[in-house]
Symmetry: D2
Amino acid sequence: MKIIIGVMGPGETARPEDNELAYELGTAIARQGWVVLTGGRKFGVMEAAMKGADDNKGLTIGILPGATGEEVSRHAQIRIYTDMGSARNNINVLTSHVLVVIGMAAGTLSEVALAIKANQKIILMNQSEETAQYIKKLGSYRVITSDTVEDTIHVIRDYITVHSIA
Amino acid sequence: MKIIIGVMGPGETARPEDNELAYELGTAIARQGWVVLTGGRKFGVMEAAMKGADDNKGLTIGILPGATGEEVSRHAQIRIYTDMGSARNNINVLTSHVLVVIGMAAGTLSEVALAIKANQKIILMNQSEETAQYIKKLGSYRVITSDTVEDTIHVIRDYITVHSIA
Amino acid sequence: MKIIIGVMGPGETARPEDNELAYELGTAIARQGWVVLTGGRKFGVMEAAMKGADDNKGLTIGILPGATGEEVSRHAQIRIYTDMGSARNNINVLTSHVLVVIGMAAGTLSEVALAIKANQKIILMNQSEETAQYIKKLGSYRVITSDTVEDTIHVIRDYITVHSIA
Amino acid sequence: MKIIIGVMGPGETARPEDNELAYELGTAIARQGWVVLTGGRKFGVMEAAMKGADDNKGLTIGILPGATGEEVSRHAQIRIYTDMGSARNNINVLTSHVLVVIGMAAGTLSEVALAIKANQKIILMNQSEETAQYIKKLGSYRVITSDTVEDTIHVIRDYITVHSIA
């Protein structure tokens, strides 16, 4: 069984610093031998995280909202076509062993909320103080913040060890 | 075509004041001749809003997460069995002409986020200052707050008139 | 709780005799006080069954594949927007108390197969000998054929009585 | 991008000859460097095809109906948790570049029908004369039958070459 790390964040509206961090994180996940999962589109955090993994011999999965190749990232090696629009966000959440959230947008927030509902582990990066506080209050013990890719990788490694994943 | 008003909010964790308001709102929606749509379960805001409408000769729709009658509200007159868990939240959002959100929980927040993503109109009731501010910032012009059922009905009526719904 | 009868069949490729029968069946379902459920599009069996009900003061539900009003039948009074394409066929199947299938096409066959899988009651009308035999073999006791609307209504009434639906 | 071959067929009700063929096919797909996709459960054709690939250093994807590890095949290396029951069949169909169908059951037939609807290539193996004829008539040019794993691999290779997949 493969360890799957979901990397969630804005698409077209991602900030440069979100994309840079997502690329760095994708790289680090690939180096651990884990799989990067995203929403699969060729924009923002999705694109950058998959490119980071793809450039470093990692495996990538894109859970796509549509039924066709339009707007799909070329770094999505495994393309899961759901044709269910934003309802696919719940598949992203349930399939990831741990979720890392970089930056924020409406779709991203829906994933965070669905992940809390599904009792998943969530690591927040590049968030405003306000967002971090709001989500930590709602998600309680499931949510932590991390400032560096190194810390994020440590948290994931501890989590999958403690929960005997893989 | 029927006008469908989604009433979203916590299930088992709803506060008494959320349930009271949901009942009052369900009553008012029914009296307008509109349909109440909820997540269909027999708890909290869903149950109360549908009971309010059902007690007042209104029509109610429950968009259910499961495939069977378990935990379904007896006030859900039309029972849409999705068997898709929380992914059904996106159907709630897309099917409602306007969404009213009473109280907050993880599932509810996912609906708010999906509604912003889908460009739907959202009316917030019984929210903390912090929640209202956070969601209004994310959702911009799509989100307003309302303090009374009367105001909520006015906002809905204006919205469906301006957008030529029905 | 409303009794919901699913009427399934081809859209654009329906034959005139399928549409005529669907209209007649929609009329008869409405006169029983039951609700007609279809895939909601403005073509073929879906359109005709809902028009039959709508013309006779019956209630109609369209479970739509898309997220917008495009190609929606004007006889779909309650419009459930799923935005999940053909995956919405499973919702049609699970939500209907009994399914009536008029004519055949690929999407229709998927609904028949999903209904057998979900252990639902299926009444076949206007089918070739070959289709009727093939589906009855696969679906066993769940599948029957009917030659007239009158017989179909009798079968439905017996089924919902025996199973204490409503 | 990875080439994904869907292998569909009965679970608990699969015949020994279906499982044997599925194992052999999973082996052959893996040796081509392609990925095996199934419904992910630990029964029948799904289990056997994934075991064949897994035993031969191939990659396997299970598109699961549930949200938890229950009844998941241990040969499903990548586990996509949909929590959408049989509606996930449409994801199987859309995600596979080519579908191979071994044996028949209600769920399998729904996948064949959805694949015809989605205009996908379908290769039938181990089918009765009656089933093969019925599906070929409905699916026309999209459907062919194959008697050997070798022929099936040839057909897939030609198809992905002609359609410039990968």
